[in-house]
Symmetry: C2
Subunit: 369 residues, 2 copies
């Protein structure tokens, strides 16, 4: 198998493992910074590495539109193109077809839609999603799935599960690259029975890893938190479990406790660009006037380049004057903070102390800043 | 004296020297990246250092508007505020009052104007310009001057010289900080006699360094090139000579030959943000479609982080998709290129081979890219 997964410890249902990939190891639980268009927005690969990242995401939908997956293949693949030598996971583009594309028409054959960039008509089939990701050359590729919004009717959810299963089979059949692992995606919304009906056949198909899709798509966080333990338990214990598109530090602490291993979210970079920093005592809004004269670092116990070198007053100034360095420094800190949280969670799991760790960290997140 | 200047060599009228400041040495000829608002746009201080910078500029006008020079003083000065531990030069704000401020009214007393940010009425007198720069704590401060446009009438030019002399005296008298050197500015446009009338009394006043202002303010580059040798010769040989706000790589090669030592310009960073890269064979426009599939680095004999790690195809993609990393990488390269050019010029001067060096580099700049 292209990737392997070993468990080093557990604490309750929380797990500490290692995913071995063609581009090196990933220590779980892990947060994966999002590099939608072959760049983690505002950061050089050196900065992403310095922030502690072991894997980044690439985006099939965006990269096939610009610059094109065949161009990336011809130039030596996504790792070389974006100068990122550690592992890369690519999503299948399904989520973006549902959230970004215009005039989309979904049938069992695939998705037809117009590009949100230039209106070109494009088609994304399960086979095409596999081919694009093989061109990109990611270490982990995702099957094409249908990801309905949280308020989709039971009928919509059932059809998404049926279609996602159909597409997963076609993706598995079409996949050829020996140096790339293909992960399956479980849909089913907040309906446990539907999740089970989706997970069981996928598990029987023997994918090297499994994801929970269709969370954080509009439902209240508490509903997701409540659903995660049972849904995670549907996935094989000896394979990596990936919760897609989630979430806040709170979401991650709860999801790790439920037995999930991998996470991605645009939140740390998008919030960073908008002057919102994550810290161990909750969010800090750097545009707030109270930071104008504050010589303190953003977070006293953070070793990232931003916290080691700059004051809140300086960060406030950068956002106040719309300087590019503000979004860069805060994106860097937020990713470093997420990854530091993952490392600490891993240590707590290895010490079999995760419940207490999560309890105290969740309590600290409520301290007003 | 706060700073000292020593000459290590010369080649014709070109000079290689060292300026010693409270924050370390500067090897001349030197290009100074512009950090208008306490940040070199798009770059971390680590990147500016890696690009080879030995000194950066700060801007009195911008920093007194936001965040305020007293705030910067209270937080430990500009070096600490922006986390730049090498030398800083601050301009006096005169140029910005003339180019940016609204409803300005200039008298011998000083300049009254409205802020271009929020319309506040402000006053900049020679004394105030000194106080602001002492609050900022730069290693080198500039006197307040009047900088007329190139098409200013002889009357306008004469009055600017008269007023700049008056203001230089008041600046010198008001200056108190022992750890800061104050440089004088020679105005006079393209009229040599006027330049001489401005330079002679300033030289008699014994400033530790001298600048030529009022160049690159709308005149044809050739007119500036022709005027520089005689104007540079008006300045003391044993003190640093600074050509303000200039220029292209071609301008710098010619100005070094004329005997100038220090340069600043927004061009490398501003052009970098707009997808224009400087190289030894002339400018490269990365938005141009011909770079779409080009696996070559931007400049083969450049060791900067951009050229060492990314292809022209990737840079084209970053600008095409409006990713922040494009402006960052090209600003970094452009500054590294300017500073590499300065180091090579210095070596050529020390080898007493500057004329041939400049001739071959100027010829190479014409090669189409």
């Amino acid at each position: 198998m292209t990737i392997s997964f070993s468990l080093q410890g557990s604490s309750g249902t929380a797990r500490a493992g290692t995913i071995t990939t063609p581009h090196g190891p990933i220590h779980t639980p892990i947060f994966m910074p999002v590099g939608t268009q072959a760049t983690v927005k505002g950061l050089t690969p050196d900065m992403v590495t310095a922030a502690g990242a072991e894997i980044v995401l690439g985006n099939t939908y965006h990269l096939t539109l610009r610059p094109g997956d065949e161009l990336i293949r011809d130039l030596g693949g996504l790792h070389k193109f974006m100068n990122w030598q550690k592992p890369i996971l690519t999503d299948s583009g399904g989520y973006q077809v549902f959230s970004l594309a215009q005039q989309r028409k979904i049938t069992d054959a695939g998705a037809k839609f117009k590009s949100h960039i230039d209106g070109r008509t494009l088609e994304l089939t399960p086979e095409k999603a596999v081919e694009i990701q093989e061109n990109l050359g990611s270490d982990i590729a995702m099957v094409l799935d249908e990801c309905p919004p949280a308020d989709g009717t039971p009928e919509v959810q059932r059809n998404a599960v049926r279609r996602s299963l159909l597409w997963a089979e076609r993706c598995q059949k079409h996949h050829t690259r020996a140096d790339q692992a293909q992960f399956a995606i479980v849909q089913g919304g907040l309906d446990y029975e539907l999740r089970r009906e989706c997970a069981e056949p996928l598990v029987a198909m023997g994918f090297p890893g499994y994801a929970l899709g269709g969370f954080s798509v509009g439902e209240a966080p508490e509903k997701m938190h409540a659903a995660l333990p049972a849904c995670a338990a549907l996935l094989p214990a000896h394979k990596p479990r990936y919760l897609m598109g989630v979430g806040t530090p709170r979401d991650l602490l709860i999801a790790i406790g439920a037995g999930l291993d991998m996470f991605d979210c645009v939140m740390p970079t998008r919030s960073g660009r908008n002057a919102l920093a994550f810290t161990s005592t909750g969010p800090v809004r750097l545009r707030n006037a109270k930071h104008r004269r504050d010589p303190a670092s953003l977070m006293s116990d953070c070793a990232c380049y931003c916290c080691a070198n700059f004051s809140r007053a300086y960060l406030h100034h950068l956002f106040h004057t719309e300087e590019m360095l503000g979004p860069t420094l805060l994106s860097l800190h937020n990713i470093a903070f997420y990854l530091q949280l993952m490392r600490e969670a891993r240590m707590a799991i290895l010490a079999d102390d995760y419940t207490e760790f999560a309890r105290s960290r969740l309590a600290a997140l409520q301290v007003p800043n």
